[in-house]
């Protein structure tokens, strides 16, 4: 079995169990299907514990699964790979390194020589608006700026697939809106395929081509909503009646799961 040739990420009938210390098995994902086409921006949204992070780690190659197939750019995932990069909720910057060394981290790991990796890192710092901060330490930056560093670090390895696990959830609401538009700006200049996890419905709709709604116990995909808002998106998009409508639709689906956890299972 093989996925569509143009799929950036293809997850097919994937199930995953966690085995806890006392040997108890819990099913985290139940036969999940999900496709991210090349150049597409796809968000996953769903209640806490529905397996979003689990899925992202599997695509990232740092977590295995029990059944099904996970492919990136048509190749079965066997571990981390140079065509993928991740942006983390906690930023995961190395506090003892300067900004430029943090941005260069992935390149260093890949054996790129220092002058060259600094060159690449400088370019990316500029594109995320931190050109003047290469010698700063992460603790000297605000949360929003730290995540810009996290984004630059991921982009530095020239990935084709970008994985983002609630990248803006630790950032204040206003800065977050700015980061969303900046992310779209950067993304639109590349052919990056993005898998983006969030809990914020407006964020999912604003950014994405598709919003994947997941349910819990065990984690499964309930619905995929196509976002037909035109691009480029900007502040006007947020006031577009279609935007409001789609956001409302996502909320309708999620609200049911939160008030009645079994509702979506029956549906």
């Amino acid at each position: 079995m093989s996925g569509k040739a143009d799929a950036a990420i293809s997850i097919r009938s994937v199930s995953k169990y966690y085995v806890s210390g006392n040997g108890k098995k819990t099913k985290a994902l139940d036969s999940v299907d999900l496709t991210v086409n090349r150049g597409e921006f796809v968000s996953i949204i769903g209640p806490s514990g529905c397996g979003k992070t689990t899925m992202l780690k599997m695509v990232g190659g740092i977590l295995g699964w029990d059944h099904g197939e996970v492919e990136v750019l048509g190749k079965a995932v066997e571990g981390p790979g140079p065509e993928r990069a991740t942006v983390f909720q906690s930023f995961a910057l190395l506090p003892w390194m300067t900004v430029i060394d943090n941005v260069s981290f992935g390149l260093k790991v890949r054996g790129v020589a220092k002058p060259e990796r600094y060159n690449i890192a400088r370019g990316l710092l500029k594109s995320v608006g931190l050109g003047d901060f290469e010698h700063a330490y992460p603790r000297q930056l605000s949360g929003g700026m730290q995540q810009r560093v996290g984004l630059a670090r991921a982009l530095a390895v020239s990935p084709q697939v970008l994985l983002m696990d609630e990248p803006f959830s630790a950032i204040d609401a206003q800065t977050r809106l700015i980061l969303q538009t900046d992310l779209l700006d950067i993304w639109s200049k590349t052919d990056l395929s993005v898998l983006f996890i969030t809990h914020a419905m407006d964020e999912a709709v604003f950014l994405s081509d598709k919003v994947v709604i997941m349910g819990a116990r065990p984690g499964h995909v309930t619905e995929v909503i196509d976002v037909d808002l035109p691009r480029p998106r900007n502040e006007a998009t947020r006031r577009d009646s279609r935007f409001v409508e789609l956001t409302g639709r996502v909320w309708d689906r999620l609200r049911g799961m939160i008030t009645d956890p079994n509702a979506d299972v029956a549906a």
Partner: protein
């Protein structure tokens, strides 16, 4: 200038005052009471000066320092390796953790006679004593350094395809630096303690040997002079390492 002087006075003033008072009491009691075991401070200081200028302490000081440095070097390499192993592997931790815990609190001075029998009266015995006193705290801190690492940083490293070695070198070691340095500092303090204790017990070598030598002939001012020297020696060793480590981890300490 005046400001820094003022701050210095506020910081060290009370200590200097208590030092002067203590010295004065010592001098007065020493002169008036005229007891053999408490010579006045002034004669101790004179003895100290003589001890220093006569060169009687140069050789013991050098010997002790060499033993200390050798012992510490062994503790640092071996202790760090053991601690890193314990911190990273559950099996190693269960296998040797109990010995390290025991060694941390055991009265290790009891082993000096054993070392003496194995190594004889030479620097090896003193080195072994320094190692015994310092290695466990170094190992304990190295293990803590490995255990307290933020899993999210390790995950980040793996997601970029970093090898186990790269993760160790670029994430685990620098993240654990403050703990390694704390281990070093405590290791030096304990090592000095072990060194002098061992030397006093062995009785004929190094600074501790001098204590025994002057003590047995009731040469009290010389005895106090040597003790003074030992206290200063320990303070300089620990102070030096503290200073050094503060410089080393200046950026790394205030990270998390």
């Amino acid at each position: 200038m005046t400001l820094s002087l003022g701050l210095g006075t506020r910081k060290y003033g009370p200590f200097l005052l208590s030092l002067v008072v203590l010295a004065a009491i010592w001098e007065i009691v020493g002169r008036t009471a005229n007891i053999l075991t408490l010579p006045p401070l002034s004669s101790v200081l004179v003895a100290f000066g003589k001890l220093w200028s006569s060169g009687a302490v140069t050789a013991p000081l050098f010997d002790s320092t060499m033993a200390l440095l050798t012992g510490l070097a062994i503790s640092l390499t071996l202790g760090s390796a053991i601690g890193i192993g314990m911190g990273m592997s559950r099996v190693i931790d269960v296998a040797i953790g109990p010995y390290v815990k025991a060694g941390l609190s055991a009265p290790l001075i009891a082993f000096v006679p054993v070392f003496l029998m194995i190594f004889g009266i030479g620097s090896e015995t003193r080195i072994a004593t320094v190692v015994a006193f310092s290695i466990f705290i170094v190992a304990t801190n190295a293990a803590t350094a490995m255990r307290t690492i933020d899993d999210r940083l390790l995950e980040m490293g793996r997601s970029f395809g970093a090898s186990r070695w790269a993760i160790f070198r670029d994430i685990r070691l620098p993240a654990g630096a403050p703990y390694f340095v704390a281990g070093l500092r405590l290791g030096v303090a304990r090592g000095v303690k072990g060194l002098i204790n061992g030397e006093v017990l062995i009785a004929i070598i190094g600074l501790g040997g001098l204590v025994k030598k002057y003590g047995t002939v009731f040469s009290m001012d010389q005895l106090y002079a040597v003790i003074l020297l030992i206290v200063l020696y320990a303070s300089v060793a620990v102070g030096g390492v503290t200073l050094l480590s503060n410089l080393l981890v200046k950026d790394k300490a205030n990270t998390a």
